[in-house]
Symmetry: C2
Subunit: 149 residues, 2 copies
């Protein structure tokens, strides 16, 4: 993901940021996807995309009870290779400079990614889904039924 | 939020969990809402609900550039008063026992809350929105334009 962490012309880095430490995350598992290189990842998950695996670590398997009643899940993961200090970024689609919070870029102070995924099946501590867009090996931090509107 | 952290009959606590520490969050600001008690919070944000304030800490104001082009935002916050060790919980609406990941309960290993909020305005480092459901003083961890479907 080095290409994502390079600074482009006009981008603004926050200076003198403290080390993050206001709250701590626990990785509850790992996500296995077909994409081992950032450039190969789709820009957004496709509900008809390949099956990906959410591999839960102990003791979280038990927290899956009842998940099979839901067709669509919201998956949260940690974009562990993203830089976190950009205030202004160059937007990919048109090269315009925009504030980090006006983009859905993975480069942000807390690089949490989310995807809406279709549940395909549950095998023990592994949840099979379609619709992800992240790198193979991405740390999993949460999953829940999709928001009702 | 003590009522939320009490164990109810049949609920299952994970034992011997390590202290979370796989990744660290930085709080980028605070959320001001009218709700100072958990029992007063709406169950889900209402797009016509009261105006709430996302108060950004320095240096993040600059990262708001371009946000005003969006009508609907996704707001991420840290549910700092939630317990994190429940595997099985009693669902509020019907009292049934369900795994944590099959619920949108704030009690989860990484208590990250999200809301879809309507942008009302931006005043310097403060973003005014409607549609939140969280307690006054909740730490803000991210905001971004709503996902396009």
């Amino acid at each position: 993901m080095s290409d994502m962490n390079e600074i482009r012309e006009g981008e603004v880095v926050a200076e003198g940021l403290p080390e993050p430490g206001d709250a701590a995350l626990v990785f509850i598992g790992r996500i296995r996807t077909p994409w081992t290189d950032r450039s190969a990842c789709p820009r957004q998950g496709d509900p008809d995309g390949p099956i990906c695996r959410l591999e839960l670590a102990p003791p979280w398997e038990r927290a899956l009870v009842g998940l099979d009643a839901h067709e669509t899940l919201e998956v949260f993961y940690w974009l562990h290779r993203s830089r976190r200090d950009l205030l202004v970024q160059r937007r990919k689609k048109d090269g315009l400079l925009r504030g980090t919070f006006s983009l859905r870029s993975p480069v942000r102070p807390n690089p949490i990614g989310t995807s809406i995924a279709r549940l395909v099946g549950i095998e023990g501590s592994v949840v099979l889904v379609r619709g992800l867009d992240c790198l193979d090996g991405t740390p999993l931090i949460d999953l829940k039924p999709e928001r009702r509107r």
